[in-house]
């Protein structure tokens, strides 16, 4: 099942009735989260649910549905092996409808994984590979034209190889570092390092070099050029005069001292 299908289906459940939150998880991994809590808290909640499922497993019990009523809301949980759906809802009477919808989704999800494994070979290893590549397979199916199974398999393999080599494209909005800035900005997902921490793999590259010594003059000139270029860009946008490339940032005379009238 593609992420789009997953999001659309669970998004529909999220908007149904008095539902205020939906979480879909596999073991302790959250696959979909649309709940009014911070992600850390949902991670804890899913962790607790995993512990509960482990307890039931140890006790040789296999509950497939749990429903809890609280003063502030209700929680419906549908379990299917390692897959779990948690639905937070306000009206207690809706629990049967919600559980039914969640169960249907889980069946569809499992069926899509299983059907993917049967396309060319039904071994466990092949099914597992299909599960990992389910995204690629559905992209092929969305093209809409019928192709022989061999061609589809080849495309799947090629796309899977391509997908394994490349990461998903992400929009880059961070500013590019200038030439004078020696260190790259830290990645957003990189954990903050404590002060005094020294990265052994990249020792001194993260220290910002100070413009000192023989390069200082060149760097200052470069900064001045960049400022002038920026001023020209701003001048283009505004209705004011356009500066020539050789002109400095400002050609106005220095402000005169105002006369004092007595």
């Amino acid at each position: 099942m593609s992420p789009q299908t997953l999001t659309a289906t669970l998004g529909a459940l999220r908007k149904a009735g008095s539902v205020i939150g939906v979480v879909f998880a596999k073991d302790t991994e959250i696959l979909y989260n649309d709940a009014p809590f911070v992600p850390e808290r949902m991670n804890e909640l899913v962790g607790v649910l995993d512990d509960i499922a482990f307890y039931f497993e140890q006790e040789k019990k296999d509950p497939d549905q749990l429903a809890f009523g609280y003063d502030g809301g209700n929680l419906a949980i549908v379990l299917d092996g390692s897959y779990r759906i948690l639905v937070l809802h306000a009206v207690a009477d809706e629990v049967d409808f919600i559980a039914k919808a969640a169960r249907s989704f889980l069946k569809d999800y499992q069926m899509s994984i299983f059907a993917g494994g049967l396309v060319d070979g039904s071994s466990i290893e092949e099914s597992r590979r299909r599960l990992e590549q389910s995204q690629v397979k559905f992209n092929v199916a969305e093209e809409g034209e019928e192709k022989p199974a061999r061609v589809i398999t080849e495309q799947i393999t090629a796309q899977a190889k391509k997908a394994s080599d490349m990461t998903e494209p992400v929009e880059v909005s961070a500013p590019r570092p200038s030439k004078t800035d020696g260190a790259l900005p830290p990645r957003r997902d990189e954990p903050k390092k404590e002060s005094g921490y020294v990265d052994e793999t990249v020792p001194a590259a993260k220290e910002k070099p100070k413009p000192n010594g023989p390069l200082r003059k060149e760097i200052q000139e470069e900064i001045a050029r960049e400022k002038a270029a920026g001023a020209r860009e701003r001048a283009k946008d505004s209705t004011g005069p356009i500066l020539a490339p050789s002109q400095p940032d400002s050609t106005l005379p220095a402000p005169r001292k105002p006369k004092i009238r007595r």
Binding site: F37, R41, Q65, L66, G69, D71
Partner: protein
């Protein structure tokens, strides 16, 4: 011979008719009409469900549990707090039924038993 139904008979009757078997619990003791073994099962279910409800509710800042229901195979088990009882010594009514009863119906039957 008296016309009273023994616990074994009551249990068999409830199983055959797929009717809920009701229990009461308060002060750390559970009571039922369908035999000691069935009451022990209810007590175990009650402890597990209460623990689960508290653990999950703690993560959502919802500590006051009103009811809990669990479905396993063709059996439904649950409990419901008696809202008329003393908050310092709460009474709980529970039920086990050997079919998948809708939760709404399950909670309603327990509330009816409380009010009966």
């Amino acid at each position: 011979m008296s016309g009273e139904v023994t616990p074994e008979e009551a249990y068999q009757q409830a199983i055959e008719q797929k009717q809920p078997r009701f229990f009461r619990a308060s002060g750390g003791a559970a009571r039922g009409r369908t035999g000691t073994e069935d009451t022990q099962r209810f007590a175990e279910n009650l402890m597990v469900l209460q623990e689960c409800a508290l653990l999950l509710g703690e993560k959502m800042d919802m500590s006051a549990v009103s009811h809990a229901v669990c479905y396993e195979d063709e059996e439904t088990a649950g409990f419901c707090y008696d809202q008329n009882s003393d908050p310092h010594d709460p009474r709980v009514v529970g039920a086990i039924v050997n079919k998948r009863m809708p939760m709404r119906q399950m909670v309603k039957s327990m509330r009816d038993f409380i009010n009966s």
